[in-house]
Amino acid sequence: MTHPSLYIKSQPVLLFNAPEYSCRIKNLFLLRIWLHPDFTCFNLGYQATSYYIRGGWVNISQHTQLLSTASKNPLQLLSAENIPYAPHHHHFEAHTDWLYFRLFFEAIPYRDQTLEMLENNLANEDDFDISNIKLTLKDGCEVVDLT
């Protein structure tokens, strides 16, 4: 695992705990957002359910994008940690299992904005889409670097 705090440069790394957002998938949780001069990191959690046999499976599209009101262009996914890219799967073993994972996107400007995460251009109800992610700079806290 590459810890985001290891990348600290001149600009501070800002951490947003429990941001406000909307998501159709009720067992997908956006837990934290890291604002870094070089990337944006999403910490996410997924709780398997009894809807699928043995909790089913998850993966993430390599084409997942981040849309920001502070950026003209969509921000591309740089890497995913602890979740495989489609078409590979992470299979749960029981419907009580869970998965914590990280998605790294291109850096976003340090300013107040609203974000949207889209897994695919053609929306599918099972996609990991998250909308109305409110990012207000004053809510962020600076990460302490002791290295």
């Binding site: 810890h3 705990n17 429990a18 934290r32 709780q47 914590y100 990280r102 806290c141 302490v144």
Partner: protein, 303 residues
Amino acid sequence: MGDLIRAIQSDGIRTSLSTVQKDIKIMKEPAPLGFGAPIKYSKKYSGYFYEDPNYTLKGVPLSDDELDSLKDALDAVKKIGAMRMHATFRNAVNKITATFEHESHSAQKAEVSRKTVFYDEAPRSTGADYLEVFMNAVKRNIPMSMVYYSYQKKRFQCTVVHTLFIKEFQDRWYIVAYSDKHQAVRVFGLDRVYDPVMVNIPFRITEHEAYAHFEEMYGVTPLKDLKPVATVFTAQPKRSNYLRAMPLHQTQQILKINENGSRQFAYELILTEEWLERLLSMGNSIKVEKPKWLVTLIKQRTQ
């Protein structure tokens, strides 16, 4: 150099000029890579010598008995202690052990290795990975942001914690901390924590009674009130012997000894989930009598 090689070979050790030269180089290198030996070359005698005649490789000269005791102690620390502690401590122990093994290699080479003590090596719990970062945070009074997964609620949480202290119970690590999300002091199992990171916000100093409570607690998860109550049970004779030999808690008392050897035990502690599990683990070799609500709870759990 020729004299040196001949002296080594006379001890039955096969060596070569290049090996001896490499060994001298390692001896001269400063610790921890080498031994920092003050070795100099004498042109007059065409050989090597210690500039400080009092220098010894061992630093502290130890007798064979002392070396054996040290090895036993190191084995115990390595097997029991190191797995409980964080990476820095483990590395330190490994360095000492490696040095010791290097030093004692020649003495041991003729012996047949025989294990004399078998330790219960519990698998390393995942939470131990974060021990060092939490220890740093506690020492420096720095709040931590972390993601936490509750086994009980089957839910992710994100909170900032102001850690009061770290607690170990049966090879599991916990932090006792004020949680901003809960606005109260909570216990978090480190095996359920993800990506803890120090954050630059004021540390909330909590003068909490948790310090006192943990002395009176078996485990970390209170069942009811944070007040010590008496647990009383009668144990069968064989179980009684085990409990007398190794008390479950420092408050253990024997209230009554029966003719057949069964005994009535009493404990004064805060009742916890872990205490309940411990009582249940003894099956029908004990009969819990007090408190009544605990007797009811045990009945429910065993049905």
